[in-house]
């Protein structure tokens, strides 16, 4: 079995938002929608203040609450662990959005453009199927599918690796198969201390945060 996951090394992330921009470019999301987000978390009191940058988005949970509540079966889970949305089935009820503890789902009811009026590039890439339905990060699912056809390896070959991972200038993000002991992500997780967010909710998320070496 395959389980694709993503890892974010919190020691490396510098909050540059390049992954956010790459995601937007790759997936043509509207201005108010960020499938890949990097939180800028500041805590403590002066002078003892710490800042953490936390990439987040859909965690492609093994027990996705969004899928369980979805009344239409539009949200589905594949054998490789990816959680996707069938835009043609979704009714935009928003139940998945309130069920997701990662705030990863978006519903937009009207076309939005970066500078008000649509630019030519935006008009060319607008997808009416995404209007008034739930959308979210798909781990660049089309690239993962292309890997099978071309004999390439997601997380290793950049053509079939999520756009955010490819773009990360700090090497903080990694992608691969958790079930493959030789994969880059398995090796990373074997040698580091990590956690998954809101794990206590029983979602079994597929997004690991590395915070120290072992």
């Amino acid at each position: 079995m395959t389980r694709y996951i993503m890892t974010a090394d919190l020691r490396r992330c510098i909050g540059c938002q390049t992954c956010t921009a790459a995601c937007r470019q790759a997936n043509a999301t509207p201005p108010t929608v960020q499938w890949r987000t990097v939180l800028d978390v500041e805590n403590g009191e002066f002078p003892d203040v710490r800042r953490s940058f936390v990439p987040t988005g859909c965690q492609h949970c093994a027990e996705p609450p969004c899928m369980h509540v979805c009344p239409t079966t539009a949200t589905y889970q594949r054998d490789d662990g990816l959680v996707g949305i069938d835009y043609d089935k979704c009714i935009g009820c928003g139940y998945c959005a309130v069920a997701c503890p990662y705030q990863a789902r978006y519903i937009t009811h009207r076309a939005e453009f970066a500078y008000g009026a649509a630019m030519e590039s935006e008009t060319a890439r607008i997808d009416p199927r995404r209007m008034s339905v739930a959308t979210k990060c798909s781990f660049c699912i089309d690239r993962i599918d292309a890997a099978k056809e071309n004999g390439l390896k997601p997380g290793v070959d950049h053509e079939v690796t999520p756009a955010c991972v490819n773009s990360c200038i700090a090497g903080a993000l990694a992608f691969g198969d958790r079930e493959d002991q030789q994969s880059n992500v398995s090796q990373l997780l074997a040698t580091t201390q990590h956690f998954r967010m809101h794990e206590e909710l029983g979602t079994d998320p597929g997004f690991y945060y590395i915070w120290d070496k072992k």
Binding site: T73, G92, Y95, Y102, E199, D212
Partner: protein, 296 residues
């Protein structure tokens, strides 16, 4: 994007309308059916029609909220795990049984309509509780709260229907009082459990703002009025009618507030703060919450 919880924007007053109309209508079918099953209830037919109207209005609210109403039939595709699908599946059965009950008033359709009303109410309670992203909804105590709220509204509306049909609503004084006391316990238990188990501070603040109006105006006032009606065995029906109206209004306020005021999302948390450059890892943070969940 911020790390602290913010109020969800996907379900607004229209979603609250479904819980208000659906919960009240289903509760009314259940309570009126329970009485009609044992002895004829004045105004039973009117009560059933009012229940159907309330449920239909709730469903219309949902239709007004969803992004793709023309595909709404797809809501029936996932009965395996989705409480929304189950609610949608119960609805047509409920309408058919209730129409038969209103028409005939005989035991079997009355019982069936009551049971389906209870099922519809249960589906709504489970639907809200399955929303894992909203701490104020997902707590297990949400289920008894939603159920008792529906029963209070049902008992209260039954009393009002009875009064409107020329009957005496006073025979409903003690069931309504019992329902109100149960809702009081469910509400108290829900709020205390939420505070103890952890929730976004803003959600707790929203519930705290609701506490005064709900407990004083929505609970104590109708309870006192019902006690007056029972203790003095008055023939006047106004104390029960006023208590019933207040009980319904307070139930609606509770559900409206739960959906549109206390529905702060999970936010984000770090069970441990990473080492960045130098120093040690630090204890975790959960911005905007009343409790921190630290990594073992």
């Amino acid at each position: 994007m911020r790390a602290t919880p913010w109020h969800q924007t996907n379900w607004d007053a229209r979603a609250a309308g479904n819980f208000i109309g659906g919960g009240s209508g289903a509760g009314l079918l259940l309570c009126a059916g329970l009485i009609q099953f044992f002895e004829p209830l004045p105004g039973y037919r009117g009560a059933v029609l009012a229940a159907l109207l309330l449920i239909a209005l709730g469903l219309l609210c949902v239709l007004a909220e969803i992004g793709r109403p023309l595909r709404s039939i797809n809501v029936l595709r996932h009965p395996q795990t989705s409480w929304m699908t189950r609610e949608a599946m119960v609805a047509p059965l409920l309408f058919a049984a209730a129409a038969a009950a209103a028409w005939s008033g005989t035991a079997l359709p009355v019982a069936l309509a009551g049971l389906l009303g209870a099922s519809y109410l249960y589906c709504q309670a489970r639907m809200l509780q399955a929303s894992k992203g909203i701490p104020a909804w997902r707590h297990p105590k949400t289920i008894p709260l939603m159920l008792t709220t529906g029963v209070v509204e049902g008992a209260a509306l039954t009393a009002l229907a009875c009064a409107l049909a020329g009957g005496s609503p006073n025979l409903l004084a003690w069931p309504l009082l019992a329902a109100l006391l149960t809702r009081r316990i469910a509400w108290k238990s829900y709020v205390e459990a939420l505070e103890k188990d952890g929730a976004p501070q803003l959600a707790l603040a929203a519930l705290a703002r609701l506490r005064g109006p709900l407990e004083n105006f929505g609970q104590t006032l109708p309870e006192l009025l019902l006690l007056v009606a029972m203790v003095f065995a008055t023939e006047h029906s106004w104390p029960v009618v006023v208590a019933a109206a207040v009980a319904v209004a307070s139930g609606w306020l509770l559900k409206f507030s739960l959906v549109t005021r206390a529905a702060y999302n999970q936010g984000f948390a770090l069970p441990v703060l990473p080492i960045r450059g130098q120093g040690e890892a630090q204890p975790g943070i959960r911005p905007g919450w009343n409790k921190i969940v630290a990594k073992d």
